[in-house]
């Protein structure tokens, strides 16, 4: 029932930007569905195989911005073979054919090719913004097309992609008339850059706010770049090696002082620690600091820098900072909201860099903390209980104890009680990943208390199917469940098939799920794609008699409205 003309309702909808809210609006009534779909400009697709571009465009013909995610999250850890899928080309082809006025494309974990970048650059006159996160399959030639053809390019943001660097002149492909850049992030490129072209580009981009350089950009070039972009807000330093007595270092110090808008600092891919002090004058303005790639900077230099950063909201750091360093963070950074502590020694050496003490200190000192990713050597239930008491506002809590199945190092008990305390206290918790020795009990707690939980990552945990059942039955808002190396099998998988309609996806690898279990699930739920990924065995697993009981190595299922995908490689079997 509408008492207002459509244009008025549409105008009201313009104020609603979150895609979740817009999805909700479209469910109210047919009239609102229609108004909403014609006015929707930004669409988010969490799984590129849940829908196809044709249906997307039929529903949202006025699309301007598209976000697509491809591979499942565990692809980050090499659990998904490279050729699995997530190709963006069909999407770009369809969008180009439809002549929709695409302005922004954001991709995560997708396979992008030079061909698709070339097509993208030529098909959309108003294209402004390209953000690629954890993608692969393209080279700097593709970047050259974007640079050359997108006349109104505002953002070129490449985060942690695998790009084949041909060390060509892609930066020189930006025409002299291109002056609209706001974001330029090429930190993940491995090769040499044409520094002259880069400096000229930065000099003619007065709106440039975010500049992230790769490791091939040396300190003297950095000084010149900062001098022509004092308006910079977000800086990613490339290589940072120099002599503190040199002239270029003096120039850098002078340039930094002028960058009064600088709020975010990252990079330091190769760093000379004694030069960090050049940044001290602007530290008091910093809200975001990412030193997680600066392996060569040791704890004491990090601490000296952080002591100046009183306004920090986001900190990404290596565990070489140590518990003592985290105590300094806790006493200095009272505005801290997000902390990530990454392991500096991936091969696992016994170097107890951070422990439960650092985590407790942070929880006590930083009342605004809501997101944490913490890699550590050891943990205790007592510490987790304290953390839960100190910080009941966690939205994201990810704890990774480096050694699988490690119990509480003081009591030798499983860490069920500690994580139980976290889920009980943190009523807004949306994302959780746990580690250490865990029994079915922790899942009982999660099912009981984690009412808002949307994403759960399980590894080396649980005893029986009950564990998984607690989660499936209890967490009403679960969207993404990913499980590896845990003893959950067909009983849990098949208990409530309709649950998967409310979820985006389920990943299970090295669990107890069998081929016949997966087949039964696929039969019961035709609106699901149940994929079996079997790289080691080129022959398809045949089901007859005892072989149906064969355990499946990797299973990935997701709801979809467009059925089986056609682009699956031979080692992926869609049931």
């Amino acid at each position: 029932m509408n008492y207002f003309p459509d244009e008025v309702i549409e105008h009201v909808f313009d104020f609603v930007t979150s895609h979740k809210d817009r999805n909700a609006i479209s469910l109210v009534c047919k009239s609102w569905y229609k108004i909403e779909r014609f006015s929707r400009q930004k669409v988010f697709i969490g799984n590129c195989y849940a829908i196809n571009p044709e249906r997307l465009l039929r529903r949202f013909p006025c699309l301007k911005s598209l976000t697509l995610k491809g591979k499942p999250h565990f692809a980050d850890f090499n659990l998904v073979p490279h050729e699995w899928g997530g190709f963006v080309l069909p999407w770009i082809e369809a969008l180009a054919r439809s002549r929709v006025g695409l302005e922004e494309l954001r991709l995560k974990r997708m396979v992008v090719t030079d061909e698709s970048l070339e097509l993208l650059s030529r098909s959309f006159v108003n294209f402004k913004s390209l953000v690629l996160v954890s993608c692969e399959g393209f080279t700097t030639d593709g970047l050259a097309s974007i640079a050359a053809n997108c006349r109104h390019l505002r953002d070129l943001d490449l985060q942690e992609n695998e790009i084949d660097d041909h060390r060509g002149q892609w930066l020189s492909c930006f025409p002299d008339t291109c002056t609209t850049l706001v974001t330029l992030n090429f930190a993940c490129l491995e090769g040499e850059t044409n520094l002259v072209a880069l400096e000229r580009l930065v000099a003619r981009s007065p709106n440039l706010k975010s500049l992230k350089l790769n490791r091939a950009v040396p300190l003297d070039a950095l000084a010149r770049l900062m001098a022509c972009a004092p308006q910079i807000v977000d800086l990613g330093v490339g290589s940072y090696e120099n002599d503190p007595d040199s002239e270029s270092y003096m120039k850098l110090k002078a340039a930094i002082k002028k960058c009064t808008s600088l709020r975010s600092l990252s990079g330091f891919l190769e760093a000379a620690p004694h030069c960090l002090s050049a940044f001290h004058p602007i530290c008091h303005n910093l809200t975001s600091l990412n030193l997680s790639y600066a392996a060569e900077i040791h704890g004491s230099h990090l601490i000296k820098l952080i002591q100046h950063c009183k306004k920090l909201q986001r900190l990404w750091i290596l565990d070489s900072i140590g518990d003592k360093g985290l105590e300094v963070v806790a006493s200095t950074c009272k505005e801290l909201q997000e902390l990530r502590v990454f392991p500096s020694d991936l091969l696992g050496g016994g170097n107890t860099a951070v422990t439960e003490e650092g985590l407790v200190a942070i929880s006590a000192g930083c009342p605004k903390l809501h997101s944490i990713l913490y890699f550590c050597q050891q943990m205790t239930n007592a510490a987790l209980v304290t953390v839960a008491k100190n910080c009941p506002n966690f939205i994201r809590f990810r704890l990774c104890i480096l050694e699988p199945n490690k119990p509480d190092h003081v009591t030798s008990q499983p860490l069920d009680e500690g994580f139980g305390a976290i889920v009980k206290a943190c009523k807004s918790l949306r994302r959780l990943s746990h580690s250490g020795l865990l029994t079915d009990q922790v899942f009982l707690y999660i099912g009981m208390y984690a009412n808002q939980l949307e994403m759960l990552s399980i590894a080396f945990a649980g005893d029986t199917d009950k564990g998984m059942l607690y989660v499936l039955n209890g967490c009403k808002k679960m969207k993404k469940l990913e499980i590896r190396d845990s003893p959950f099998g067909d009983t849990a998988l098949l208990a409530d098939v309709s649950k998967y309609e409310t979820m985006r996806s389920l990943w299970m690898s090295s669990c107890e799920v069998t081929l016949s279990g997966c087949k039964r699930l696929a039969q019961k739920a035709p609106w699901l794609n149940v994929e079996i990924i079997n790289e080691n065995d080129n022959n398809r697993m045949e089901e007859n008699g005892h072989e149906g009981r064969q355990k499946v190595d990797k299973m990935y299922l997701y709801r979809t409205v467009v059925g089986t995908r056609m682009d699956a490689p031979p080692f992926v079997w869609i049931l």
Partner: protein
Amino acid sequence: MANESDNLGLEITELRLGLPGDIIVVSGQSILGKKRASPEVESNMKCEPATKSQVVGWPPVCSYRRKNSLEQTKSSYVKVSVDGAAFLRKIDLEMYKCYQDLASALQILFGCSINFDDTLKESECVPIYEDKDGDWMLAGDVPWEMFLGSCKRLRIMKRSCNRG
């Protein structure tokens, strides 16, 4: 001494699974004091679970980050200096497949043209490199792969500087 040999005798008759020369620790004291176990055996005694470093995708650190954190342990970056230039550059030798590629890169970086096939001929710039032994060698003599493995530092000498 007598004590030691008594204990030694007992230990020898004990049936155990273990390498010869394993340290047998009794009340904190190593009995086989004179015979030190080899370093490899000692490290095995630390009971590090072999599974830790062999589990695929564990710890859950994304592959991009993994690549960039192992970087410094096997870095192929070398410093390049050019006579007369105010500062040095650093290049990743593994980015190049042959001497020609390197020559192109040096052309872009420093503007000097080098012919690795005939380094001592007319051209003004002579590339030399410091090898693993610390000796300064003329670049271009050995196959590219061998050069990759032994080059620690590169220097472009300007011919006009070293005449006479």
